[in-house]
Symmetry: C2
Subunit: 488 residues, 2 copies
C-alpha cells in the first residue's frame, strides 16, 4: 500500500508524492457501530498511541484508535520501494533503550536487526567540510575527533556529566542540572571555544545539530546533556545507541506488530484518515469530533498528539496554561531527512559532515539496495532550511555538497512541513523542557496526555513513545478499575 | 509476615529460621472452586512466573499460580527486619536491563532506587587478601586494578570481546563465540597467567567467582564473557549494571506489584505452600498433582521451575533428553549470601576480596540500618562452601576474615541448600549453555518452559526472568487464540 506521506524522485519519474509502506492500514476503518461508547479513545497511531491502544485492548478495555494519517508510526515509519526499506523518520534502536528492547524481545525480532555502517569496502573515509576547509579522514580519526570534541562539550563537572546528571532516566534527580536548560548550545560553545580546534568545532556542531536539527542558538544544552547521559556519557555509546542498529525490514515491520496484536484482541476499533478537531471532556465522558464532523465517545481519552500540534486541537475545558504555552513555544526540531540511492558502490563506507554552508549537515552510508546501489541518508535542519518538495534541484545539490555522488533516486519526508507533526522528534529550545515537562505529563480530568515528547527516559525516541504509551494505558486501566469498582 | 525462608542471628536470639518479608502472601490461597479448569497453570512465583501469570491474567486468561514457598520472588527476595531491607537473593537492577527497567518505569518506581556504595565517609578503602598478602588500597586503585585485570581476561579478540560477542542480547550471533564454552575460567586464567600481577590474579578471581559462586574449574568462560558483553565490555558497567542500584524498600517492594496487578484482574487464582510432584500432559489438557495429592487442570502450563529442580518433578510424557541432561548436570552457582549488621560506622565505605583462603570471597558496605549501623553484604560459593545454618561461628569468622567487624546481626539465605532452588542464579559450567540453551527454551506439547536460567539476554538476572515470563505468556496467549479460533 502507498501512503500519502513522503516523496520519491527519480530523473525519469520526477517528483512523486507518497511512498509505499508496510504501515498503511487497509481497510482504513473497522468501525461497525458509529454510536458505540468506548472505554478509551486513543488519538494518534505513532508508537505511543499504538502501545497505549494495544495495552488497553489487551487488558480488556474497548478501544477506539483515531489517526489523521493513512498509516501507523506517526513520526517513525519506513517506506518500502522495490523491496528496500528507507526510514522516513526514526531509524535506530538498541538494547540500551529499555522499552523498545522489551518489545523487540517480546516480538522475537532480536535477529531482525542489522548494522547501518559497513566499513569493509569502498572509500572508507569521513568527509569534514567546514566554511574554511574540506578534507577526508579515516573513520578512526573521525572517532578520535568526535570523542575529543564531545567530551569537552559535555564536561561541565569534571566527570563528563556524570555528577550533574547521574540518573539519565530520572534526569531531574539532581536539581543542579536544570541550570543548563538556561543555556543554548551556542552558549556552551562560547564557553569552550578556546579549547576546540577548528575541526572539533565543525564536527561537534555537525553532531549536536544532527540531534536537534535546529540552530545552536535554539538548541537546549540541557537536552543535549540528557541525550549524552542516556548514551553512557560517551561518544562510543552515542554511536551504539543513536545510529547503529536498525530493522532489516524497516521499522514499520516492527510497528505493525503492535497494531496486529491490538486488533487480534477483538477490542480494537480504529479509523485512519481521521484528523481530530475538538476534544470535549463532559466529566461523564469524553467526546471527540473529527474534522469530518463525526463524533466519538468514550469514558477516557489518551491524547498521543505531538506537543507542537496540541495547540491545533480545541480542548474543552481548555488545555492548562503550561501545556498550551509549551505547544505554542514549540520544540525546535525541523528535520528534513533525505535518502539518496546512488550508483557509487564505494560510498557504502563513507560518512560526512558539511557545516555551516549547506542545507544538509550530516550523512552516512546506510545500506545497499537490491540493485547493489549505495543508500545514503542525510539530515538537514533549520540552520539552513531545505524544502525538497519545492526545490528538488537544490536538494540534489545539497547532497552533492556532502560528497560527489551519482544519484539514481531520492526519497524524503520533510517533517518541518508536516501538518500532523510540525517538526520531527522533540528537541527542546532553552528553557522549555525543565519548565514544562511536569505540566506536559499531567492528566486533565478524563484526558491523559502521552507522547515521546515528554517521556522521562529516552524522550524524543521510539523508546520514549513506548514508555509513554505504557504509562497512559496503565493509568487509564487503574482509573477505570477504581471508578467502576466504587460504583458497584 | 514472616517467611520460612532465610535465617537471622543475633548474639541474644541465637539462630532463628525465617525472616519477615513483604513477599509473603496472605491468605496463602484464594482458590474457591477446586474443580476449576484454568486456561493456564503457572508453576513458580519468582519474577518469571509472576510476569507470566500477570501478563496472562491481564490478557483475559484464567490463571492458576502454584508456588512451593510461602512467598513470591523465588531466588530473588528481600527480608525486612526492623524496617530495613536485607536482600536475600538478587539485589541490583539498572536501566541497562531492559525488561526490568520497563517494569520499574511502568510501576513508577524510578525514584525508589538508591546506590549501594557510599564513599563519602569512613575508611574508604578496599581490602585485598590473597594467600600471600593482605593490604588495603583506595577505591580508585581498586578500580584500576580491577579494570586492568578484567580487560586482560576478556580480551580474546583484541577488542575486549566486542568481535567475538557483538550482540549481547543474541550472544550466539557469532558462532565463533561457542568455542569459549569449552573453556573454564581456570583454562582462561592459565592462558593469561604470565600477564597478571599477583594482585590482579586475586582480584580477578574474586570478581569472577562473585559472578558464578563456584570454582574456576567449574565456571564457563563463555558465560562470563556473556556477562561482560552485557556490561558494555567494561568494568565500569559491570559495577553500573551488576552491583550499584537497588530498591530503597527492598526488591520484594517491586515484586509485589506484579502479584497485586495480576490479582486485581480477577483472573488470578493462586496457591502458595504447594510444591508440585507431577505434571501430566494429556494432550486435551495438562494435569498437575501437588505433593499434598491435590490436582489442578488447565489447557496449558507454564513451568517456571528452575533448571536445577526440573529433574525433581515427574513430567509425563518425560522431559526431552536435553532438558533432563541439563537439569542433571546442573548449573554451578552455590551462592551463600550473608548480611552482617555491624557497629562499625566507618565500614560503610569499605569493600573487600578474600581469596582463596576463606569461605566468603567478596563483600561491600551496602547500606546504613535505621540504628546507624553499617550493613555489609558478603558472598561465598562452592570454592570453599559455607553452611551458615549449621555453623554460625564459622560464618562469623568468615566475615571477620574479610575485615575485622563488630557484628550485631547476621541474616542469610543458603541457596546451595534450598530444596526449591538447589543453587542461586544460573551460572553455567563449561559446555552446558551452548549445548542445551535451545532445548531448555523449547516447549513440549501443552507445556511451556520459562526461566531466567535460559533467557537469551540477561540470563541469571531478574531481567532474564521477566524476559522469559513475558515470552511464555505471549506464546500461550497466541497458542490458545489460534487453537480456539480454529475450533469455532
Amino acid at each position: 500500500m502507498t501512503s500519502r506521506d513522503g516523496y520519491q524522485w527519480t530523473e525519469k519519474s520526477g517528483l512523486i508524492k507518497g511512498v509505499p509502506s508496510l504501515g498503511v492500514i487497509q481497510p482504513p476503518t473497522n468501525i461497525k457501530d458509529e454510536q458505540a461508547v468506548y472505554d478509551v479513545i486513543v488519538i494518534g497511531a505513532g508508537y505511543c498511541g499504538l502501545t497505549a491502544a494495544r495495552d488497553a485492548a489487551l487488558s480488556g478495555l474497548k478501544v477506539l484508535l483515531l489517526e489523521a494519517r493513512d498509516r501507523i508510526g506517526g513520526r517513525s515509519w519506513s517506506s518500502n520501494i522495490e523491496g528496500y526499506p528507507f526510514e522516513m523518520g526514526g531509524t535506530w534502536v538498541s538494547w540500551g533503550q529499555p522499552h523498545v528492547w522489551r518489545e523487540i524481545s517480546r516480538y522475537e525480532m532480536r535477529d531482525q536487526l542489522e548494522i547501518s555502517h559497513d566499513y569493509s569496502r569502498g572509500v572508507n573515509y569521513f568527509s569534514l567540510n567546514s566554511s574554511s576547509s574540506s578534507r577526508n579522514m579515516s573513520h578512526d580519526d573521525e572517532d578520535k575527533l568526535m570523542e575529543s570534541a564531545l567530551k569537552k562539550f559535555a564536561n561541565v563537572d569534571g566527570q563528563y556529566g556524570r555528577i550533574i546528571m547521574p540518573f539519565p532516566h530520572s534526569e531531574s534527580h539532581n536539581p543542579e542540572a536544570a541550570k543548563f536548560d538556561k543555556m543554548s548550545v551556542a552558549d556552551r560553545m562560547a564557553q569552550i571555544k578556546d579549547d576546540l580546534s577548528p575541526d572539533e568545532h565543525t564536527a561537534l556542531l555537525g553532531f549536536v545539530l544532527l540531534c536537534s536539527c535546529s540552530t545552536p542558538e535554539k538548541t537546549s544544552f540541557y537536552e543535549y546533556l540528557h541525550w549524552w547521559a542516556l548514551c553512557n556519557y560517551s561518544y562510543e555509546y552515542c554511536i551504539e545507541y543513536l545510529i547503529k542498529y536498525k530493522f532489516k525490514g524497516g521499522q514499520s515491520s516492527f510497528a505493525i506488530n503492535f497494531f496486529r496484536e491490538a486488533r487480534a484482541t477483538g477490542n480494537l476499533s480504529y479509523a485512519f484518515n481521521t484528523p481530530v478537531a475538538t476534544v470535549k471532556d463532559n466529566e461523564s465522558d469524553v467526546e471527540v469530533t473529527a474534522r469530518d464532523g463525526k463524533t466519538y465517545k468514550a469514558a477516557r481519552l489518551i491524547s498521543a498528539i505531538p506537543m507542537n500540534i496540541l495547540k491545533d486541537v480545541t480542548f474543552s475545558p481548555p488545555l492548562i496554561v503550561g501545556k498550551l504555552e509549551a505547544s505554542q513555544t514549540s520544540h525546535v526540531n525541523k528535520c528534513v531527512k533525505v535518502h539518496a540511492e546512488v550508483r557509487d558502490r564505494n560510498l557504502r563506507s563513507w560518512s560526512g559532515i558539511t557545516y555551516p554552508n549547506n542545507s544538509l549537515m550530516y550523512a552516512i552510508g546506510d545500506g545497499t539496495t537490491p540493485s547493489g546501489n549505495t543508500h545514503i541518508v542525510a539530515f538537514g535542519g533549520s540552520h539552513n532550511q531545505l524544502q525538497p518538495e519545492k526545490d528538488i534541484n537544490k536538494t540534489l545539490s545539497a547532497l552533492q555538497a556532502m560528497t560527489p555522488m551519482d544519484i539514481e533516486r531520492v526519497v524524503f519526508h520533510n517533517w518541518a512541513d508536516d501538518e500532523f507533526a510540525r517538526g520531527a522528534w522533540f528537541f527542546s529550545p532553552p528553557g522549555l523542557v525543565t519548565k514544562h515537562l511536569q505540566e506536559l505529563r499531567a492528566p486533565q480530568g478524563n484526558i491523559y496526555f502521552a507522547n515521546s515528547d515528554w517521556a522521562v527516559g529516552w524522550r524524543s525516541f521510539i523508546d520514549g513513545a513506548i514508555e509513554e504509551g505504557t504509562r497512559a494505558a496503565f493509568a487509564v486501566k487503574k482509573d477505570l478499575d477504581r471508578t467502576r469498582s466504587s460504583h458497584l
